[in-house]
Symmetry: C2
Subunit: 427 residues, 2 copies
């Protein structure tokens, strides 16, 4: 049995079947450093996929903070500790002044699970609107926001889905205003439907960058009419910043700032601790206190001193290494390169993104914009074989997902682009 | 403003109101080592409360494992990595052979959230039975198992509660068999009620040690009739081992082994990584694969190499320092001491526990067994003032919760006992 086959067999025996794994030939990764991953044979891969190691794999400043705090104290928030206060103060300072308090959790899923209840506490209602191709996490409650697989016992009936915006095939037409109004109209219909239901309307939850839906290029102010409809109906807006947050889109620290909206609740996850399990919910104090009044909530590991030290170190590195600016400039450079590839390779129907989250939508023909998900799978496997790790996503699962650690350089972008050129040429 | 008042004000401003905090004068803890915690003024506290730092605060072997792995690689399970395989293999080897696979999560709450869905996947049904004073975690779904506070939108109707066993006031009478059968009868009634409901009967979830309910002294085989009723109805038994697991009760690695039952699903949390956020669900492969077939589940941080290294290091220390045996002998020694205090202090109505999880139930009068929760609060605050940290719990919230890190010594027990003697004498 090959090493790979033996590992796969052992994995199925210990972890069960159907556990997701990337690539036709899964990568057996043993070491990470900056934007690089290394497999068991010592082969190097350029990581164009992972946003969790936000400031780079095994960044020494983050590792040092974790080691220092883990060897000093790791306990819970039922004792006083300044680590969580210093971190939440610094974190909330990056938000609009109306978002000034936080609850820390261990994962983005836990954060969204709290956020939904926070909106329930404020409104007294439980109906939620989400987009139809989104993913907000893995708890029982949060999974109800996903349409992919009906749970045992069925969906709760309290969720309404609106079509995720697709800038390549815009609902309402090519005009920015019509596109935005078409989305808002769907939100209004969903609000009306919930208002007629026993659940009532509580909140709209969106990733303001619509990352999983394929990060559409949205016109300025796209979300404003939808947000206005939510406010008018007394609902709350939850911005899931698990993907676009922490400066990834280059010009703004948070995806909702880029979208020009101020949500009532913001949820955080993946990149927050550079891989250390930490998530959080940021909200105004009235919203947060309504939750704390309506629900008993304690999270044993949430806000522990080690996770706060990790979170603080991530903010340090973002500032010290000017990584948001790096995301802006290198992202723009890489997207330019992707545009040049689009001129050469007819399979690329559209390119888009912001900062270090961008990609190419692959189509079988440009006039019909016929999605090419199988080819996208071949492309990401071809890239992996050539030492570049990326993924695919989007409504039609045919868009390359390029979302590297934030210290990604122009040289890294050049390597990614030349490899992609090779792979596309070989199709 | 005093330091404490300033910290409390800052905490309320940044973290909101109603966030739970221990003691009348909260402890401002800045350092931990073994069984000791130190506050900002350098004052030392004997930790008789915390089970999360299972092998001792900041144990160097665990810290070293975390630092080593955090500086080598921290990524997710969509790549192959041997760390999770080695850990799950070693972990499941401590269980009955029928419990041979695992899903790793970040918290015990996430583990119970998965366990409930696992039982749904196997049975196709959603009704759950829990005890009436239990706590299984903080997600929306798991919170439904708690009776403490009705959620916005109400309870789901799919949970039935049975009275938690109280060995000091046994339902059914003093005979062990009658006590066990009375509990089983309540479970049978709950099963029948669920079978008549639209939900059907899916699972019984219990902490087999009933820690939050006051860790009753249960007769051998107490759970057997209830488990037989569950099996007969085609339901699953979920054992929540977040509290009694990892050798804490002294004679067995797991609480369900002590109770003499083999559950279908076991959930793990708090002590698993000595404070590093890791939880898990252990089950037979058929059960686990049913879940993986019925639900899409991926946990970004779950099973990451750093958390597996922390978990592995905890198992190392448990073995190397013979901590389960320590829990057995020191626990028995401390419980003896508590029994001597009970002869001296009339307020102690009952003493009980196993290994390093034990305590005294405080009552206003021994004949009526009238609970003394306010006095219990005074006692734990008096202990804290004298430098010993413990808590209270139980159906009547009048039982001291003594659950120290596992390296707790006889000297530590003597200090705890003499301090408790002082505090009780001063009431």
């Amino acid at each position: 049995m090959s090493d790979e086959a033996a590992l796969l067999a052992r994995r199925e025996r210990l972890l069960g079947r159907n556990m997701s794994l990337f690539y036709e030939h899964p990568a057996h990764i043993v070491r990470g450093e900056g934007v690089w991953l290394f497999d068991a044979d010592g082969r190097r891969y350029l990581d164009c996929y992972n946003n969790v190691p936000h400031v780079g794999h095994c960044h020494p400043h983050v590792v040092e903070a974790i080691c220092r705090q883990a060897s000093t104290l790791n306990t819970h928030t039922r004792y006083l500790h300044e680590g969580i206060l210093d971190y939440v103060e610094r974190l909330t300072a990056t938000f609009d002044r109306s978002l000034d308090t936080a609850i820390l959790t261990c994962t983005g899923s836990e954060a969204n699970d709290v956020a939904l209840r926070m909106a329930q506490a404020v409104t007294g209602r439980t109906g939620v609107i989400a987009t139809d191709h989104t993913y907000h996490g893995n708890t029982s409650a949060v999974s109800q926001l996903s349409t992919r697989m009906p749970p045992v016992g069925g969906f709760g009936g309290h969720v309404r889905h609106v079509p995720a915006p697709d800038s390549y095939r815009p609902l309402g037409g090519e005009s920015g205003q019509a596109f935005a109004e078409a989305f808002a109209l769907k939100v209004e219909e969903a609000i009306a439907s919930l208002q007629e239901s026993p659940f009532g309307f509580s909140a709209l939850i969106v990733d303001p960058f619509f990352a999983n839906e394929g990060f559409p290029d949205l016109p300025s102010g796209f979300l404003a009419p939808a947000v206005a409809a939510v406010k008018k109906a007394g609902g709350l807006v939850i911005a899931d910043e698990v993907q676009p947050g922490f400066g990834r889109t280059g010009e703004h620290m948070w995806g909702h700032q880029r979208a020009g909206i101020t949500p009532d609740i913001v949820t955080l996850g993946k990149p927050m601790g550079n891989g250390h399990p930490i998530g959080g919910v940021v909200a105004g104090s009235d919203t947060l206190n309504a939750f704390r009044g309506a629900f008993r909530y304690f999270n044993t590991f949430g806000g522990n001193p080690v996770s706060c030290a990790a979170g603080m170190a991530v903010l340090d590195v973002l500032e010290q290494e000017n990584l948001m600016e790096n995301a802006r400039t290198v992202g723009a450079y890489a997207l330019d390169g992707l545009n040049r590839l689009a001129e050469k390779h007819g399979i690329i129907g559209n390119t888009r993104g912001a900062g270090l989250f961008f990609g190419a939508e692959l189509v079988l023909d440009k006039r019909e914009k016929t999605p090419a998900p199988q080819i996208a799978t071949r492309v990401i496997n071809g890239m992996r074989e050539r030492g570049v790790l990326m993924g695919k996503l989007g409504i039609h699962q045919c868009t390359t997902k390029i979302r590297p650690p934030m210290p990604f350089s122009r040289d890294n972008a050049d390597l990614m682009l030349s490899t992609l050129d090779d792979v596309l040429s070989g199709l």
